[in-house]
């Protein structure tokens, strides 16, 4: 299935979860601290990353802290 990850169409195996996507990224900070994930307009809390399944066409946004006023 194709899922948008931070705006990039990404091929994922069926059954992929938020955690699957995160495992493929080098996250800043230690232990993914300072990272938050949304699927569409839904915030996925950290404890749910392992079980939140993704579907074809989902928009996954993986955000972290940057400098900002």
């Amino acid at each position: 299935m194709i899922v948008s990850v931070n705006g990039t169409p990404t091929e994922l195996a069926a059954g992929a979860t938020v955690a699957t996507v995160l495992a493929g990224l080098e996250l800043p900070g230690s232990g993914g601290r300072g990272v938050a994930v949304a699927v569409g307009a839904e915030v996925v809390p950290r404890p749910d990353w392992e079980r939140r399944a993704l579907a074809e066409g989902d928009h996954v946004e993986i955000l972290t802290a940057i400098q900002g006023g």
Binding site: V35, V43, L63, G69
Partner: protein, 265 residues
């Protein structure tokens, strides 16, 4: 010498939290995390803003690590949001990322002015307060909007002095004074500071704190400017408490006239 704010027995209580420094630091615009870290230390601040953006695999270092090493409190913002919906979602994500209920709420009307969109700001503030957030809204210098934001439960109001990054100082001190007279929550000047005197003026007018980003981060020497503005915030606060003399159109001698000698004709 950096000003040691912790020696002043005049803390700001914001949403139940005691802050000894009345200078909040925006982290946007620093050339590096190292420069930001030095400015945090020089400013004496205890509250710094952060923004949320997509993970950048090429990014070096973690701003959260630097900020936490400095021992200061995080204030995530919703910079760049143009709708109440996006701002609310960003605030929820920030709460998830940083485990804080505090949010600097920005809902921007357009790219050119970066001025707040008043109706959307109020809507987002109301939603976030209902969800348990400590909402610190970036607002215009309109005293009525400030009152509405206070009415929906914001923990402070953060009016601009002039547009973000403009360095134009306080455009309308009279509006700011009216807002301060009527406010039941802390008033934090949140944009427009260009140099130390702007921050001092904000505090002399009665602001409870000043939030400053570009004036420090884009100064030629950010660390020195952080010290300067920290000193100005403290000086302005002291002057406000000390009570300035009234303005007069004519001179008022400070030396007594009684006892003047008469030297003859």
């Amino acid at each position: 010498m950096a000003v040691d704010h912790r020696t002043t027995a005049d803390p700001l209580i914001l949403a139940g939290v005691t802050l000894h420094s009345r200078l909040f630091l925006g982290t946007g615009g620093f050339s590096s995390l190292e420069a930001m870290g030095e400015a945090i230390a020089a400013s004496g601040t205890e509250l710094v803003t952060l923004a949320l953006r997509r993970v950048d695999p090429a990014a070096r270092g973690s701003i959260v690590d630097v900020v936490e090493a400095a021992g200061v409190r995080l204030l995530p913002n919703t910079a760049g949001c143009f709708t109440a919906r996006d701002a609310v979602l960003t605030a929820r994500l920030a709460r998830e990322a940083f485990q804080t209920d505090w949010v600097k709420l920005e809902v921007i009307g357009d790219d050119r002015t970066l001025l707040p969109d008043a109706p959307a700001l109020l809507e987002a503030a109301e939603t976030l307060v209902a969800e348990g957030f400590v909402v610190l809204p970036y607002t215009t210098d309109d005293p009525i909007l400030a009152r509405r934001l206070e009415d929906v439960g914001c923990a402070a109001v953060m009016p601009l002095g002039s547009p973000i990054g403009s360095g134009m100082g306080i455009g309308n001190p009279y509006n700011l004074s009216i807002m301060i007279e009527r406010a039941g929550v802390p008033v934090v000047l949140d944009a427009g500071v260009g140099t130390a005197s702007d921050a001092a003026l904000a505090m002399e007018l009665g602001c409870d704190a000043v939030l400053c980003a570009s004036a420090i981060s884009r100064a030629r020497n950010p660390t020195a400017m952080a010290r300067a503005i920290a000193g100005a915030v403290e000086a302005g606060r002291l002057a406000r408490g000390a009570g300035r003399i009234p303005r007069r159109r004519h001179a008022e001698p400070s030396t007594p006239e009684a006892g003047m000698p008469d030297f003859g004709a």
